[in-house]
């Protein structure tokens, strides 16, 4: 049994005790970055105060401790996503974005030839688009987009055609604009049936429900610490062992080599090959603490809690404003996470966010690094509210109040 209690979670997060403009903060920007609980901050403090040292090459006490901390984090990540091959399938990067660049430049550049096809979707974050365009420009691969339907879900009616000749299907677990969750197991089967590998952008999905790469048949997975209650400065790249072993290095430098002479170098084996330079050690410790914290809450309980908040918010946004506030995303809460992109009649998202700020409400205006999706729906921007495990109905109350103010100010 999970002991999930959102009020207690809220108490655990120092930033939520803060007031802004004389109001309690209503943090509704977890899709941009989550707020770390005290346990995460303290784990990093403890690390710096007692154990910090560079990893891997030291034999003294604190260097061994730091190495154990760092490798312990890797093992925790492997467990959290159920990596079939364990910690040897987990590479630490700086963020989701670097993970996708690693995928494109190492696996992609070495495995793909001109004309090979990479399929993404219209709802992808730029992190899962731009690296493929870069690979198109350098290696001549073709990038195809699975369209998004008017129901804000992937339109799979021509997917077989799109997947013809595809070497990779790379899809977000959950859209950071629409909240749409994709059926990863089904998409993995589709990809594999067409002889393509299957990559997942887990940036949004890993923190708001369970992730199981073994069950779902995921070949590559990318995500960020700062979107799962962890610190900035760390990301994860998961790849199935057989794939990872065949991938050439990406960044070059210390730690990723077996030998360097003045005439060349030999790369190291294992995950070390992909971790050039001093890694984000304290950040790995923080990520480990975040995973422990999320496991304590129970990913399913978190998902259920956020679903309830989303159901309530969707109802009130529709009911309270006579259709003047439109939610850009699915209206039901099945296969949908707690991201609410708002289009407010007559009020630009920037102004919506500015007015909401005066109410202590934190929402994000903009294109949310998903411009293909914005183009698809003819939008320049939305004002996005998004939930986290610590969100409460009173955050939605503040949102509704602030939206009322914005509508009246610009009426």
């Amino acid at each position: 049994m999970s002991s999930f209690n959102p009020t207690r979670v809220r108490a655990d997060v120092p930033l939520l005790h803060r007031q802004v403009h004389g109001r309690p903060i209503a943090y509704l920007d977890s899709a941009s970055s989550t707020l770390p609980p005290r346990a995460v901050i303290e784990a990093m403090d403890r690390y710096y105060e007692r154990h910090h040292a560079n990893v891997h090459r030291g034999v003294y006490q604190t260097a061994e401790e730091a190495t154990a901390d760092y490798e312990g984090a890797r093992a925790a990540v492997a467990r959290y996503i159920n990596a079939p091959g364990g910690a040897e399938e987990v590479v630490f990067t700086k963020n989701t974005t670097e993970s996708f660049n690693l995928l494109a430049r190492s696996w992609g550049a070495s495995r793909l030839s001109p004309g090979d096809v990479v399929v993404v979707t219209e709802m992808e974050h730029h992190a899962n688009v731009v690296p493929w365009f870069q690979l198109r420009d350098s290696h001549g691969v073709e990038v195809r987009f699975i369209p998004v339907g008017d129901d804000y879900r992937l339109d799979l009616s021509h997917v077989d055609q799109l997947l013809e000749g595809a070497k990779l299907l790379s899809v977000t677990g959950m859209s950071n604009v629409l909240g749409t969750r994709n059926d990863l197991a089904a998409l993995a089967r589709l990809a594999h049936d067409h002889g393509a590998l299957f990559a997942v952008d887990g940036a949004q999905s890993v923190a708001h429900g369970s992730t199981d790469v073994a069950r779902d048949g995921i070949d590559f997975l990318a995500f960020s610490g700062h979107k799962m209650l962890g610190p900035t400065g760390i990301g994860v790249f998961f790849a199935r062992r057989s794939l990872l072993e065949a991938m050439p290095p990406f960044l070059g430098g210390g730690g990723m080599i077996a030998d360097v002479r003045t005439d060349g170098f030999t790369p190291a084996t294992g995950v070390a090959r992909f971790e050039a330079g001093t890694p984000p050690i304290a950040e790995a410790v923080g990520l480990h603490a975040a995973i422990r914290y999320l496991e304590g809450l129970g990913p399913d309980a978190v998902e259920a809690h956020e679903r309830e908040l989303t159901r309530d918010a969707l109802e009130r946004l529709e009911g309270d404003f006579d259709g003047r506030v439109r939610v850009v995303g699915p209206r039901d809460v099945v296969d949908r996470g707690g991201v609410l992109s708002l289009d407010v009649e007559g009020v630009h998202p920037h102004d919506v966010a500015q007015v909401l700020d005066q109410h202590g409400v934190c929402v994000r205006p903009g294109h949310h690094c998903a411009k293909p999706l914005m183009h698809r729906f003819g939008l320049a921007a939305t004002a996005r509210a998004s939930f986290g495990p610590y969100s409460l109905t009173r955050d939605t109350d503040a949102l509704i109040e602030g939206l009322g103010h914005a509508l009246s100010l610009f009426a």
Partner: protein, 157 residues
């Protein structure tokens, strides 16, 4: 942070709701220039008709937040029909207004009164500097104008 009223003055809301000089001009003779704020997706397109050393006519299209659109509308009203020297001077004054640091505002109250007076209605945008992220919004039309004038000068026979 300052209250919202500093930002959303009545003049600004008015120009946002009823933007002046909307529309297009035939190119040529007009010069067309686009401005773009990648962070929030705000866009403005200016049509500049230069004649006899003046900005003889100006129209604009675009979309964006109240600040970027009102600033564009206020700018149009301020520079249309003016000599290029006057336009340059207005540009410079507005740039200076937007770079008054928040700190200076905080301890000095309003920015230099001379500046504000010489700006006319544009002074309504003075409150924007208290909201640093919005400065880019207010500047968009102006940097686009500056770029357009440069391009037009380069194109001129």
């Amino acid at each position: 942070m300052a209250p919202l009223d500093d930002l959303y003055r009545e003049i600004i809301l008015d120009h946002y709701r009823t933007p002046r000089n909307r529309g297009e001009l035939p190119t040529p003779p007009a010069h067309r220039v686009e401005g773009f704020n990648p962070l929030c997706g705000d866009e403005v397109t200016l049509y500049l008709e230069l004649r006899d050393g003046r900005l003889a006519d100006l129209k604009m299209t675009g979309r964006g937040c109240s600040i970027s659109q009102a600033s564009a509308s206020l700018m149009g009203a301020a520079v249309k029909g003016k000599s290029l020297e006057e336009v340059e001077a207005a540009l410079e004054r507005f740039r200076r207004l937007m770079t008054v640091t928040e700190t200076r505002l905080d301890d000095g109250g309003e920015p230099e009164p001379l500046d504000v007076r010489s700006l006319g209605e544009l002074a309504a945008l003075a409150g924007v500097v208290k909201f640093p992220v919005r400065i880019k919004c207010a500047m968009l039309a102006w940097t686009t104008l500056a770029q357009g004038l440069d391009e037009a000068a380069a194109d001129a026979p």
